[in-house]
């Protein structure tokens, strides 16, 4: 299935093209959803939200709100009974019977100003009967927990998700491979650990925003900051019982997503309110506070690890139990549970493994996809255990990882074989970059210095048949416009799309444009911009579209020149014949065709290439053992290492240097790959050192940038060395696979391992704040 690329000379593949949208973004000209002008017709929506983590709604009285001057619509759960959700349809647009987290939407208002809408919200009276909340996933999974979703057994669910009706477990994914009980007896060293990973927020700098309008035709238009215009079209249409073709989603530039703008969240609220005021656009813009309370959060995790190895350091067995604190609705989170299950060995070959990964309903904010999709959380504990096991046997952690890490052909946790991978090379190069084994002196006597390393793997987690499509249209001068349904979130998807289209068609990169904004009415289908899947999946669709266009062009030239199309090529925007050495620029030909000899008519017509791509080979897994032929499309692997300094007086951790190597198959644009590695590293570092949604009895305590700190320019290391490893993916365009999420997967454990190397303490979980580190050092007797 390798993509053929006969003669892309000179090819933009592998070139550091500047981002195609960098100019509009640096001049203020780029239009984001909140920048679109709707004029005086625009109405403003605000949402009445639950102040309780768990309560029954006894009554909702909106009569006063409807009479507030300037209010144009009031909506409650009574208006919209339909269920919505990506993998498990477990939520309605507005709450109907119960509220399940602080911030759960109960009613919505549209008015001529935000102030009036806020005033109207104040006049809505809701009576609640408070219910006992579930605030811990381990407790929530047990028999004594209050039941959050008694209707779990009736929800529509994807066939690879396994809910347990009558419990709070909305997915239970199991691995049963080999025999762990026998294996423990053969182990020389065994360790058992528990880790707790807090909820964190994605914190895109652009808050969520959606504008919806019901058109005169009855069709609905939604403008939003979105990673998933097509999924939103589908899921909102289904929930409202309308045709997908009557639901149009327009998705301009996105000011950061990281998963929070995937699937459907607040967009459905805007649409529901707009349906009450046909003909008028209504805008719902989340405040930063609302963003912290109600946007998807990264799920919390309580994890238990047991692993053992023999004398030589070969890992023989693992036993992992994951309780995912998935929040009030787990429509998207159920698949994080599954992904962490089928990846639960970490990037290691483990002959005996038992895993139970539980997705548990709690009365916490709604868990959703976040950069890494469960992998940073799972690797955080796992990669610390790997270090501990190595140290227990007094084997160097890098050496220990060399022994056990996945190599090409290794047997995976799900029973299949690992495809070609450069993981051992990533490990070795990262260790070299951080000068593993060489101690550097701390910068002052009250500081201690240490190095840590961690590996990672991650597959795109998605339905087996998530599809992409693309088209390529040519203008009179031969320039090309690439239509895609994938979104540029800042990662550079549009730039890479243009590079691939130009290369596969045979025109200069400068001739390529991307048809934006993504609009479900005109853009080709793309499942979602998630899972680091675009370069690979959308890339394959683009290559297929380019080849389709190319074939049409060559057929025209072949007929006109009476030659075999196999002898023709498009190089640098010119059709050439290798046989007769005839040449003809694409100009005009691609729109007007070519005249036949002696004025006997014309050949051809306007060229549009189309292509799609969908993986067809992913198989189901046995529900009892998690074993199967091919669980996923592929794994991107990599390594990170850090050099940190810990202040004995304050407990402050400073990351002095970072190093990272990832096997991306082929870097279509190496600079963009490196930018992902850097940005991911800092986001991972931020989650390791600073970030935590402080939930007290289900109520968020730190909903602002002051109280929820993310890394700033003063926190970052002096140097991050990024290394690209390229072991091609057999079905990737030019061998490419994804990198967007992977860059933050190993950061927490790399830093944790370095802190241990520096001062000998380990915490139960991040963030590794000064206070927590200091107290841990005190407990360990390192400071008094």
């Amino acid at each position: 299935m390798a993509v053929e690329h006969t003669k892309p000379i000179p090819s933009p593949i592998g070139e550091n093209k500047p981002k195609i949208d960098a100019r509009v973004k640096s001049t203020g000209a780029a239009i984001y959803a909140d920048d679109i002008q709707f004029g005086n017709n625009l109405l403003y929506a605000r949402i009445k939200r639950s102040p309780h983590p768990h309560a029954r709604i006894l009554s909702v009285d909106t009569s006063k709100a409807a009479t507030v001057p300037g209010v144009k619509a009031v909506v409650t759960g009574d208006d919209y009974p339909g269920y919505i959700g990506l993998y498990l349809q477990d939520r309605t647009i507005f709450c109907r019977d119960k509220v399940r987290y602080v911030g759960d939407p109960v009613a919505g208002v549209a008015a001529i100003s935000e102030e009036i809408a806020e005033k109207a919200l104040d006049s809505i009276k809701i009576e609640y009967e408070l219910l006992d909340p579930v605030l811990d996933p381990e407790f929530g999974a047990g028999p004594n927990a209050p039941l959050l979703h008694p209707d779990l057994g009736h929800y529509e669910v994807a066939n690879f998700i396994i809910p347990k009706p009558g419990t709070n477990i909305s997915n239970h994914f199991k691995i049963r491979k080999g025999n762990v009980e026998t294996a423990w007896k053969q182990c020389t060293a065994i360790i058992e650990r528990k880790y707790r990973i807090p909820h964190i927020q994605h914190v895109p700098i652009e808050p969520h925003v959606a504008i919806a309008q019901v058109e005169q035709s009855g069709e609905i238009t939604l403008w939003g900051s979105s990673q998933s215009p097509f999924a939103q079209r589908n899921l909102i249409a289904k929930a409202l019982g309308i045709s997908q073709s009557d639901m149009r989603v327009i998705a301009p530039y996105v000011g950061g997503g990281f998963g929070s703008k995937a699937g459907v969240s607040m967009e459905s609220l805007a649409v529901a309110i707009a349906m009450k005021v046909p003909g008028r656009p209504i805008k719902l813009l989340l405040t930063r506070e609302e963003e912290f309370y109600t946007a998807f959060v990264r799920q919390g995790l309580v994890s238990y690890y047991k692993m053992g190895c023999d004398e030589s350091g070969k890992i023989l067995a693992m036993e992992n139990t994951f309780y995912w604190d998935a929040g009030a609705y787990t429509e998207y989170g159920v698949n994080i549970t599954r992904a962490s299950g089928y990846s639960s060995s970490g990037p290691y070959e483990v002959p005996n493994i038992k895993t139970d990964s539980y997705c548990v309903y709690t009365n916490h904010p709604v868990g959703g996809p976040m950069r890494g999709f469960g992998m940073p959380e799972m690797h955080a504990g796992l990669e610390q255990c790997i270090d501990e096991l190595a140290l227990k046997l007094q084997i160097d952690p890098v050496k220990f990882r060399e022994i056990n890490c996945l190599k090409t052909g290794s047997i995976l946790v799900t029973g299949s074989k690992m495809h070609a991978t450069g993981l051992p090379e990533c490990l070795q190069k990262t260790a070299e970059a951080i000068r593993w084994g060489q101690d550097s002196p701390p910068s002052s006597p009250n500081k201690r210095r240490g190095k840590g390393i961690a590996l990672m793997w991650k597959a795109p987690a998605m339905p087996p048949n998530a599809g992409s499509s693309a088209w390529i249209e040519l203008a009179e001068d031969g320039y090309i416009t690439v239509g895609v349904g994938g979104q540029d979130l800042g990662q550079g998807a549009f730039t890479v799309a243009a590079q691939m289209a130009a290369a596969a068609l045979g025109v200069p990169y400068e001739w390529a444009r991307v048809a934006t904004p993504v609009d479900t009415r005109y853009s080709p289908y793309e499942w979602q911009t998630v899972a680091s899947r675009l370069t690979w999946s959308m890339g394959n669709a683009i290559v297929n579209a380019a080849q389709d266009a190319r074939r049409q062009i060559l057929d025209i030239a072949a007929e006109a020149w009476n030659e075999d199309a196999d002898n023709l090529d498009v190089v640098n925007g010119v059709v050439i014949s290798y046989k007769t050495e005839r040449e003809l620029p694409l100009e005009n030909l691609v729109v007007y065709g070519l005249p036949k000899d002696d004025d006997q008519g014309w050949i051809g017509g306007p060229i549009i290439g189309r292509g799609n791509f969908m993986p067809t080979y992913v198989t189901g897994l046995d529900p009892e053992t998690g074993q199967g032929e091919r669980a996923v499309v592929h794994y991107t692997t990599g390594a990170q290492a850090v050099d940190v300094e810990v202040d004995l007086v304050t407990g402050r951790v400073d990351v002095i240097k970072g190093a990272a190597a990832f096997d991306v198959g082929k870097a279509i644009n190496p600079d963009l790959v490196k930018a992902q590695m850097e940005g991911g590293f800092i986001q991972g570092m931020s989650s390791a050192l600073f970030e935590c949604l402080q939930l007290k009895d289900g109520v968020l305590q730190n909903p602002s940038f002051v109280d929820y700190r993310i890394a700033t320019s003063t926190d970052i290391p002096d140097e991050i060395q990024t290394i690209i490893v390229e072991v091609p993916q057999d079905d990737g365009p030019w061998g490419a696979r994804g990198i967007g999420e992977h860059a933050m997967v190993p950061t927490i454990p790399a830093i944790a391992n370095a802190i241990y190397a520096a001062v000998g303490v380990r915490l139960e979980g991040p963030p590794f704040t000064s206070e927590k580190i200091y107290l841990a050092m005190q407990d360990a007797g390192i400071v008094s």
């Binding site: 500047p18 981002k19 949208d21 960098a22 100019r23 509009v24 973004k25 640096s26 001049t27 203020g28 000209a29 780029a30 239009i31 984001y32 909140d34 920048d35 002008q37 994605h202 914190v203 895109p204 700098i205 652009e206 808050p207 530039y253 996105v254 000011g255 950061g256 997503g257 990281f258 405040t287 930063r288 979130l489 800042g490 990662q491 550079g492 600079d671 963009l672 930018a675 850097e678 940005g679 991911g680 590293f681 800092i682 986001q683 602002s704 940038f705 002051v706 993310i710 890394a711 700033t712 320019s713 003063t714 970052i716 002096d718 991050i720």
Partner: protein
């Protein structure tokens, strides 16, 4: 709510705007004038996305009342490029790869202009300190810091050309 007629100069052009007493400069720019390049990230002075120059000083426009800007000189991101020619700071951030989602970019560039105006040769730590109020979630700041250094070099080269 009282409405005030004010006359700010925005990007070199004298403007007339009618603003309610409680309207912020950010809201005025975005909703009254459609200078939407100035971004709203938090409306609380915490993220720096709405930074503009107010009488040559960088400010969070979400914390400034529009009525205070009568007669003021305001520069937004739209005012940096002249006649389609990018300012050096824009060229530098594009070359450095310091733009990802682009939402923090306008605030970063305005703040960089202000920094280089008061300190043409900032050290690494001075750059970091200057940008501490501009949150970026995509880039990890590395390429942004590089672009500030690059701009300083380009400005220096430009100045020495002028002298020759």
């Amino acid at each position: 709510m009282a409405i005030h007629r004010i006359f700010p100069t925005i990007n070199g052009e004298l403007e007339q705007v009618d603003v309610p007493s409680n309207m912020t400069l950010l809201k005025m720019l975005r909703e009254k004038m459609a200078f939407t390049g100035t971004k709203n990230g938090c409306s609380a002075g915490e993220c720096g996305a709405c930074t503009v120059l107010l009488n040559n000083e960088p400010v969070n426009s979400c914390l400034v009342l529009a009525v205070e800007c009568d007669g003021a000189d305001i520069v937004t991101i739209e005012g940096l490029a002249q006649d389609g020619k990018l300012a050096l700071v824009q060229e530098a951030i594009i070359k450095s790869g310091g733009v990802q989602c682009g939402f923090c970019t306008p605030g970063v560039l305005i703040n960089t202009m202000a920094l280089l105006d008061r300190n043409p040769n900032p050290s690494d730590s001075q750059i970091r300190e200057a940008l501490v109020g501009n949150l970026c979630r995509c880039t990890g700041y590395i390429r942004i810091i590089d672009s500030v250094k690059k701009t300083a070099q380009m400005l220096k080269a430009e100045r020495s050309e002028l002298w020759q």
